[in-house]
């Protein structure tokens, strides 16, 4: 597992090599003052004693006197056809329903649930892909719709037993795998609908071939829904424990057909035509797209317990917990001034204190954006329902101010009520997730990779 993490980290580092923006520059030289003198000196008429063959006496005198400055016009365009954050999928595949990962729909809903070991495994396999990236593949006389791409890392899981551990022959992992895809658009307006046959292979650390087709719907605020059908086969022999290589006779190869459904977040898809539209003129479908929102909060409940123990008699720290949203998008409803919105996040964590903690996958959020100042300082009252694996009803308000290009500063306040869930795995029950709770809170936070668009920009 450490090896997988190390290679994923290396992939993240390498992924910085792939351009996101293409820049065109035109340089202009502007002449403000020009008094250049260009003088042709003519041959002196008449005979001269220069021999039989002599050069012409013609010459040109140029006296340059001007004032100039250069002006450079820069235009920025997207350089990718697809740039993604996280893609996950759950596959129906052959085998017993008692085996498999049991990670639930999209490979997410039961990822941290105790149920994934014991429940009937509807989805026997999963795929997780990090940082997918695609550019135009210009071949076959510039045939349209071809892409070539890679990903920071991807992982195929098909566990052979009911344990939570990865076993030989149960996984394929690739760093910077190579994929060739062909797009057939069924709908060429946002959100796009397209069928994509693909052929891909990974060389390191697993060697595998992945062939199939996807039905893609998106991107809409970075979220995509995908249907998959394909076949993957390969070996993870390089991941064999080198210290036990002489006695490790396990079969590290795997092959299985799959059909399934997946989701991706922070995953942006462009048509080829959009590569020639400047960033500033690109269409937006979301009021807000955010990589991570992190709010440090203080629970107002008298039952709140700190995550870290304090000395007896010590004062309660100002911060008792946090609220984190990973990979969020907020969409305007298509009426009025488009300030009423709905939204979701890939993962939502509400941890007001050690005894007031819950999390969920793809919560449903609704709210209204009040513009306080200059269409930048916004107040957003919201209601949020987290329904699985825990139930949390959450109402609150957020005052946001964009800072720099990709960040926000927030002040938050609200109230949340969480229901007990005893199925949480991996020791999370120690955090009090097994008990119901309710509390108010106040806090401050930041948005990282948090981009706001005004309703006017979204309506454009």
């Amino acid at each position: 597992m450490k090896f997988i993490l190390a290679t994923a980290l290396a992939a993240l580092t390498l992924s910085g090599c792939f351009p996101i923006t293409r820049i065109e520059r035109d340089r202009y030289t502007i002449t403000q003052l020009d008094s250049t003198i260009r003088q042709n000196t003519q041959n002196i008429p008449g005979d001269r004693d220069n021999g039989v063959i002599y050069p012409s006496a013609s010459s040109v005198d140029i006296h340059r006197q001007y004032v100039q400055h250069d002006s450079e016009v820069t235009r920025s365009y997207p350089a990718f056809l697809r740039l993604g954050g996280i893609e996950t999928a759950s596959f129906l595949t052959s085998g017993s329903s008692s085996r498999g990962t049991g990670n639930g729909l999209f490979g997410l809903y039961d990822l941290l649930s105790g149920k994934h070991l014991t429940n009937t495994k509807t989805f026997g396999a999963n795929m997780y892909r990090l940082l997918p990236y695609e550019v135009r593949l210009r071949w076959l006389h510039d045939a349209p719709g071809w892409t070539i791409g890679t990903a920071g890392a991807e992982l195929f899981l098909k566990q052979q037993d009911t344990t939570a551990e990865l076993a030989p022959g149960g996984y394929l992992v690739g760093v910077l795998p190579l994929y060739i895809r062909k797009r057939f658009f069924l709908r060429d307006q946002i959100p796009f609908v397209m069928v994509q046959p693909f052929l891909g292979f990974g060389l390191f650390p697993s060697q595998y071939l992945n062939v199939g087709v996807t039905l893609d719907v998106g991107s809409y605020g970075g979220f995509n829904l995908r249907g998959y059908a394909g076949y993957v086969a390969g070996s993870s022999n390089l991941l064999r424990n080198s210290n036990r290589r002489h006695i490790d006779s396990a079969d590290y190869s795997t092959a299985f057909p799959y059909i399934g459904i997946g989701i991706s977040a922070l995953d942006f898809v462009n048509k080829t035509e959009e590569l020639f539209v400047e960033w500033k003129n690109q269409k937006h479908s979301a009021l807000e797209v955010s990589v991570l929102n992190l709010d440090l909060v203080r629970s107002l409940s008298s039952n709140a317990q700190q995550f870290q123990s304090v000395a007896p008699g010590g004062a309660t720290p100002a911060i008792t917990g946090l609220i984190a949203r990973l990979a969020s998008a907020t969409y305007p409803l298509p009426f009025g001034e488009r300030r009423l919105f709905v939204g979701t996040s890939l993962v939502n964590l509400v941890a007001l204190s050690a005894t007031e903690t819950g999390f969920g996958i793809l919560p449903i959020r609704a709210g209204y954006r009040f513009n306080v100042l200059y269409d930048e300082l916004n107040l957003e009252p919201f209601a949020e329902l987290t329904y699985y694996p825990q139930s949390i009803v959450h109402i609150g308000a957020r005052l946001s101010l964009p800072m720099f290009d990709f960040g926000t500063v927030n002040v938050v306040a609200g109230y949340a009520r969480g229901a007990a869930n005893s199925d949480i795995a991996f020791g999370l029950d120690n955090l009090g997730i097994g008990t119901s709770w309710s509390a108010g809170y106040i806090g401050i936070g930041i948005g990282i990779g948090d981009v706001f668009h005004s309703p006017a920009e979204v309506m454009r």
Partner: protein, 192 residues
């Protein structure tokens, strides 16, 4: 043609154009002339421009921009030949991005209707002699406000122009015409 201080006899390939892979960017053509490198870009369908050993051929309606990187003031020399049809048009002091072919300075190099220069204010200055069938050298002296245009040894236009100088010269084959660019040379006015 003099390239980098050496004399290349006419007829020996004076211009080498390479269709660089650069991610298989079909419309990009790298041009090497001596030690100088220029960026060529087809602004219409990439199939409209063909690279041959003798030069770069522009098919009817093709637009082709040549950029001299970081050089906005230059003496540009281009040997062109009309292979069939009428001729070509050359745009200066402009850029390919959002090129408006109806405005700005342009040279019409035509074998049927004669040559003319469209000035920055839209006026047209006709030139008596039409373009010839053989290869002819077009020279553009582009320095500060000065722009002079010569065809062969004959200067046909010289005036003060208040349009900013750019790195580009853009060629456009007239409808029904096929023309060939046989040499390309940009000289820095300060070292010429």
């Amino acid at each position: 043609m003099t390239v980098s201080g050496r004399i290349y006899p006419r007829g020996i390939i004076p211009l080498v154009a390479l269709a660089l892979l650069s991610g298989c960017a079909y419309e990009k053509i790298g041009i090497l002339a001596g030690r100088q490198g220029y960026d060529g870009e087809t602004l219409t369908d990439y199939r409209d421009v063909e690279v041959r050993s003798s030069g770069i051929v522009l098919k009817p309606g093709a637009r082709f921009a040549i950029r001299s990187p970081d050089l906005t003031q230059f003496i540009g020399r281009f040997d062109v030949a009309i292979l069939s049809g009428d001729g070509l048009r050359v745009y200066m002091r402009t850029v390919p991005h959002l090129l408006d072919s109806t405005k700005g300075i342009a040279l019409l190099y035509s074998s049927l209707n004669g040559c003319s220069v469209r000035t920055a204010d839209g006026g047209v200055i006709p030139v008596a002699n039409p373009a010839g069938r053989g290869a002819e050298r077009l020279t553009f002296h582009n320095e500060a406000g000065l722009l002079s245009i010569s065809i062969g040894c004959r200067e046909i236009y010289e005036d003060y122009v208040d349009l900013p100088s750019t790195e580009y010269v853009i060629f456009e084959a007239l409808p029904g015409s096929t023309v060939e660019l046989r040499t390309v040379r940009f000289s820095d006015i300060y070292t010429e």
